[in-house]
């Protein structure tokens, strides 16, 4: 048995039955990384020594399995925008290339309390800005299904690592689709929780009203398990919501009888890859065969979501990235002629082109004379987009859409025109604007062998229904069991 192929739930059973040891599992995952990462390039930092030590500790706890914490001995990869104490965290940027955080993000504290092993930090688009992982300041990650293709972004490293069995699971972040898109391109499961469900404390901020941390996993049960660990109120994040966290695995197997699935016509547009549309429609047919009911709905402001996002997200980013000034941490330009010059040169040297572009856009739309026309206008359209969803969700329980208009494209295909890249997010972005939860699950492959996924969007804080519907779909198909040949 290749231990690196195990899901969290299978590994947990074997660990608690003492069939395998946590140290063997961690060693197997580390060996898998050594064997495959020269090709995939998902990892920025592999924490081999720390991980082995954590695994040894886990084996001690597993001597008494009934008292071992829920993720005891399970290796998890972490997107490099999530701060890990004592472990280099770069956010995919040169400006933080040598930054070693003095504290753990809340989600990391929760993983550690649950006994998880932090196996390493995975690659991402710089400051989580991107849809292909090509904006990483270090190197692009490749899609394990076809190494000439992108893994998606910005959590490309997280999705590629899980797809390549380089970790049983990973954490990513999603601001405009950055978990769901790479999950879809890499054929794994990825979820963006409701805004406020998971703490953002210790997560490098891109757009504070849109960012969320979420699980990237091999199947839906694992997604539920990982969400369970990281979700919940955190007083250190004032946007985290003080609502109880339900038992996400308890309702997984309840099926979809009577579940109303909204199908928005605005998400099945011309220009979509035909195989993507047919795979998603086939999934809907499967779900209705299992007892769900398809309900046509309208989300009239869909076409404005990308424009709204690229005003709001860039505005927030321009503010959030002002802190990278070379004073207290990160890169500082050498030999500057005064403080302002130091700021300007530090940021010029440390930021990549896409980050600069978004900072400039954001500064522009917030500047005097333009604020009303752009930022205020976008905030009003955001209200309308959110209202569209809340209205539609009165007539259905979940909404089903494709994740992306195409399967994974080739490296370099979309890097010359930023706008073309931005349009990869057309189906994922609205959920971030509306603050709603969304999950991507594999639902097919195209003729090139590239994964296709189904997206389900849900009511605020109703991750349980999303997981239940996704689980039903998954258990009646075998897409999620396929692995790339590496």
């Amino acid at each position: 048995m290749d231990l690196f192929r195990l899901t969290i739930h299978d590994a947990t059973n074997l660990l608690r039955q003492h069939t395998i040891r946590a140290q063997d599992l961690t060693q197997a995952v580390l060996a898998r990384i050594r064997a495959t990462d020269p090709a995939v390039r998902a990892y920025l930092t592999v924490c081999a020594d720390d991980a082995i030590a954590q695994a040894a500790l886990a084996d001690q706890h597993l001597q008494t399995p009934e008292s071992a914490p829920p993720l005891c001995g399970i290796p998890i990869a972490v997107k490099d925008v999530i701060l890990t104490k004592g472990i280099r965290s770069t956010a995919g940027s040169k400006i933080l290339a040598d930054f070693v955080p003095p504290y753990d993000a809340t989600v990391i504290q929760r993983l550690k309390a649950a006994g998880a092993v932090i196996i390493g930090k995975v690659n991402c688009d710089e400051f989580a800005m991107g849809s292909s992982n090509e904006n990483s300041a270090f190197f692009p990650t490749r899609n394990p299904w076809n190494l000439a293709q992108v893994p998606g972004g910005s959590s490309g490293g997280s999705a590629a690592a899980v797809a390549a069995d380089q970790a049983p699971a990973a954490l990513g972040t999603d601001t405009g689709g950055s978990i769901r898109l790479p999950a879809a391109f890499c054929g794994v499961t990825g979820m963006k929780p409701t805004y406020g469900r998971v703490s953002r404390y210790g997560v490098v901020a891109y757009a504070s009203s849109l960012d969320q941390v979420g699980p990237v996993t091999k199947d839906v049960r694992d997604c539920a398990l990982l969400l369970q660990t990281i979700a919940g109120h955190d007083p250190r994040d004032s946007t985290s919501v003080n609502l109880p966290v339900p038992d996400y695995t308890a309702t997984l197997t309840q099926g979809v009888t009577g579940l109303r699935i909204g199908v928005p016509k605005e998400y099945f547009v011309e220009g979509m890859q035909p195989e993507v549309e047919s795979a998603v429609r086939a999934s809907l047919a499967e779900l209705t065969a299992l007892g769900a009911q398809a309900v046509p709905i309208a989300l009239p402001h869909t076409a404005y979501a990308v424009a709204t996002y690229y005003i709001i997200a860039t505005a927030e980013a321009s503010s959030n990235l002002a802190r990278y000034d070379g004073v207290r941490y990160g890169h500082r330009a050498a030999h500057s002629d005064g403080l302002t010059a130091m700021y300007e040169q530090t940021r010029a040297e440390g930021f990549g082109p896409e980050v600069k572009r978004r900072i400039l856009l954001g500064t522009y739309v917030l500047s005097a004379g333009y604020y009303d026309a752009y930022y205020l206008k976008a905030q009003k359209v955001r209200t309308l987009i959110r209202q569209d969803f809340l209205q539609a969700l009165q007539d259905c329980d979940v909404i089903a859409t494709p994740v992306a208009p195409t399967t994974a494209f080739a490296l370099g295909d979309k890097t010359t025109d930023p706008l073309t890249m931005y349009l990869s997010d057309i189906f994922t972005i609205a959920a971030n604007l509306a603050g709603l939860p969304g999950i991507a699950v594999p639902c097919g492959f195209d003729t090139q062998g590239l994964p296709i996924s189904l997206q389900l969007l849900g009511k605020p804080f109703d991750e349980a229904t999303l997981l239940r519907a996704a689980y039903s779909h998954e258990q009646h198909t075998t897409w999620h069991t396929r692995r790339p040949s590496l």
Binding site: N242, T340, S367
Partner: protein, 95 residues
């Protein structure tokens, strides 16, 4: 269609404390113009009677007691490029 000049891009860059090379400024002007043209499509949406979203979560901002809770931690200086005693060192500000 908005006319974004290269001078305007340089002005905004200064506001954002970013130095752009001439080549970067040119490319940036082209990209920014294109993106702003795209986002101009929002003008087609009637929003006169619509309230802007100002908070992603509803409800009052939670407050805590106004008391000192953090302990001075010298390890926080370890991330700094330049320090002196318990200070972050920066280029001279006042001439």
């Amino acid at each position: 269609m908005p006319l974004v000049t290269i001078e305007e891009v340089q002005r905004v860059a200064r506001l954002a404390r970013l130095t752009l090379t001439a080549h970067e400024a040119e490319a940036m002007t082209e990209h920014v113009t294109k993106i702003l043209t795209y986002v101009d499509t929002l003008n087609a949406v009637p929003t006169d009677t619509v309230e802007p979203i100002t908070h992603a979560v509803s409800g009052p901002m939670p407050l805590r007691t106004d008391a000192v809770t953090n302990v001075p931690d010298p390890t926080l200086l370890r991330t700094a490029p330049a320090t002196e005693a318990t200070f972050f060192q920066v280029p001279k500000i006042i001439e």
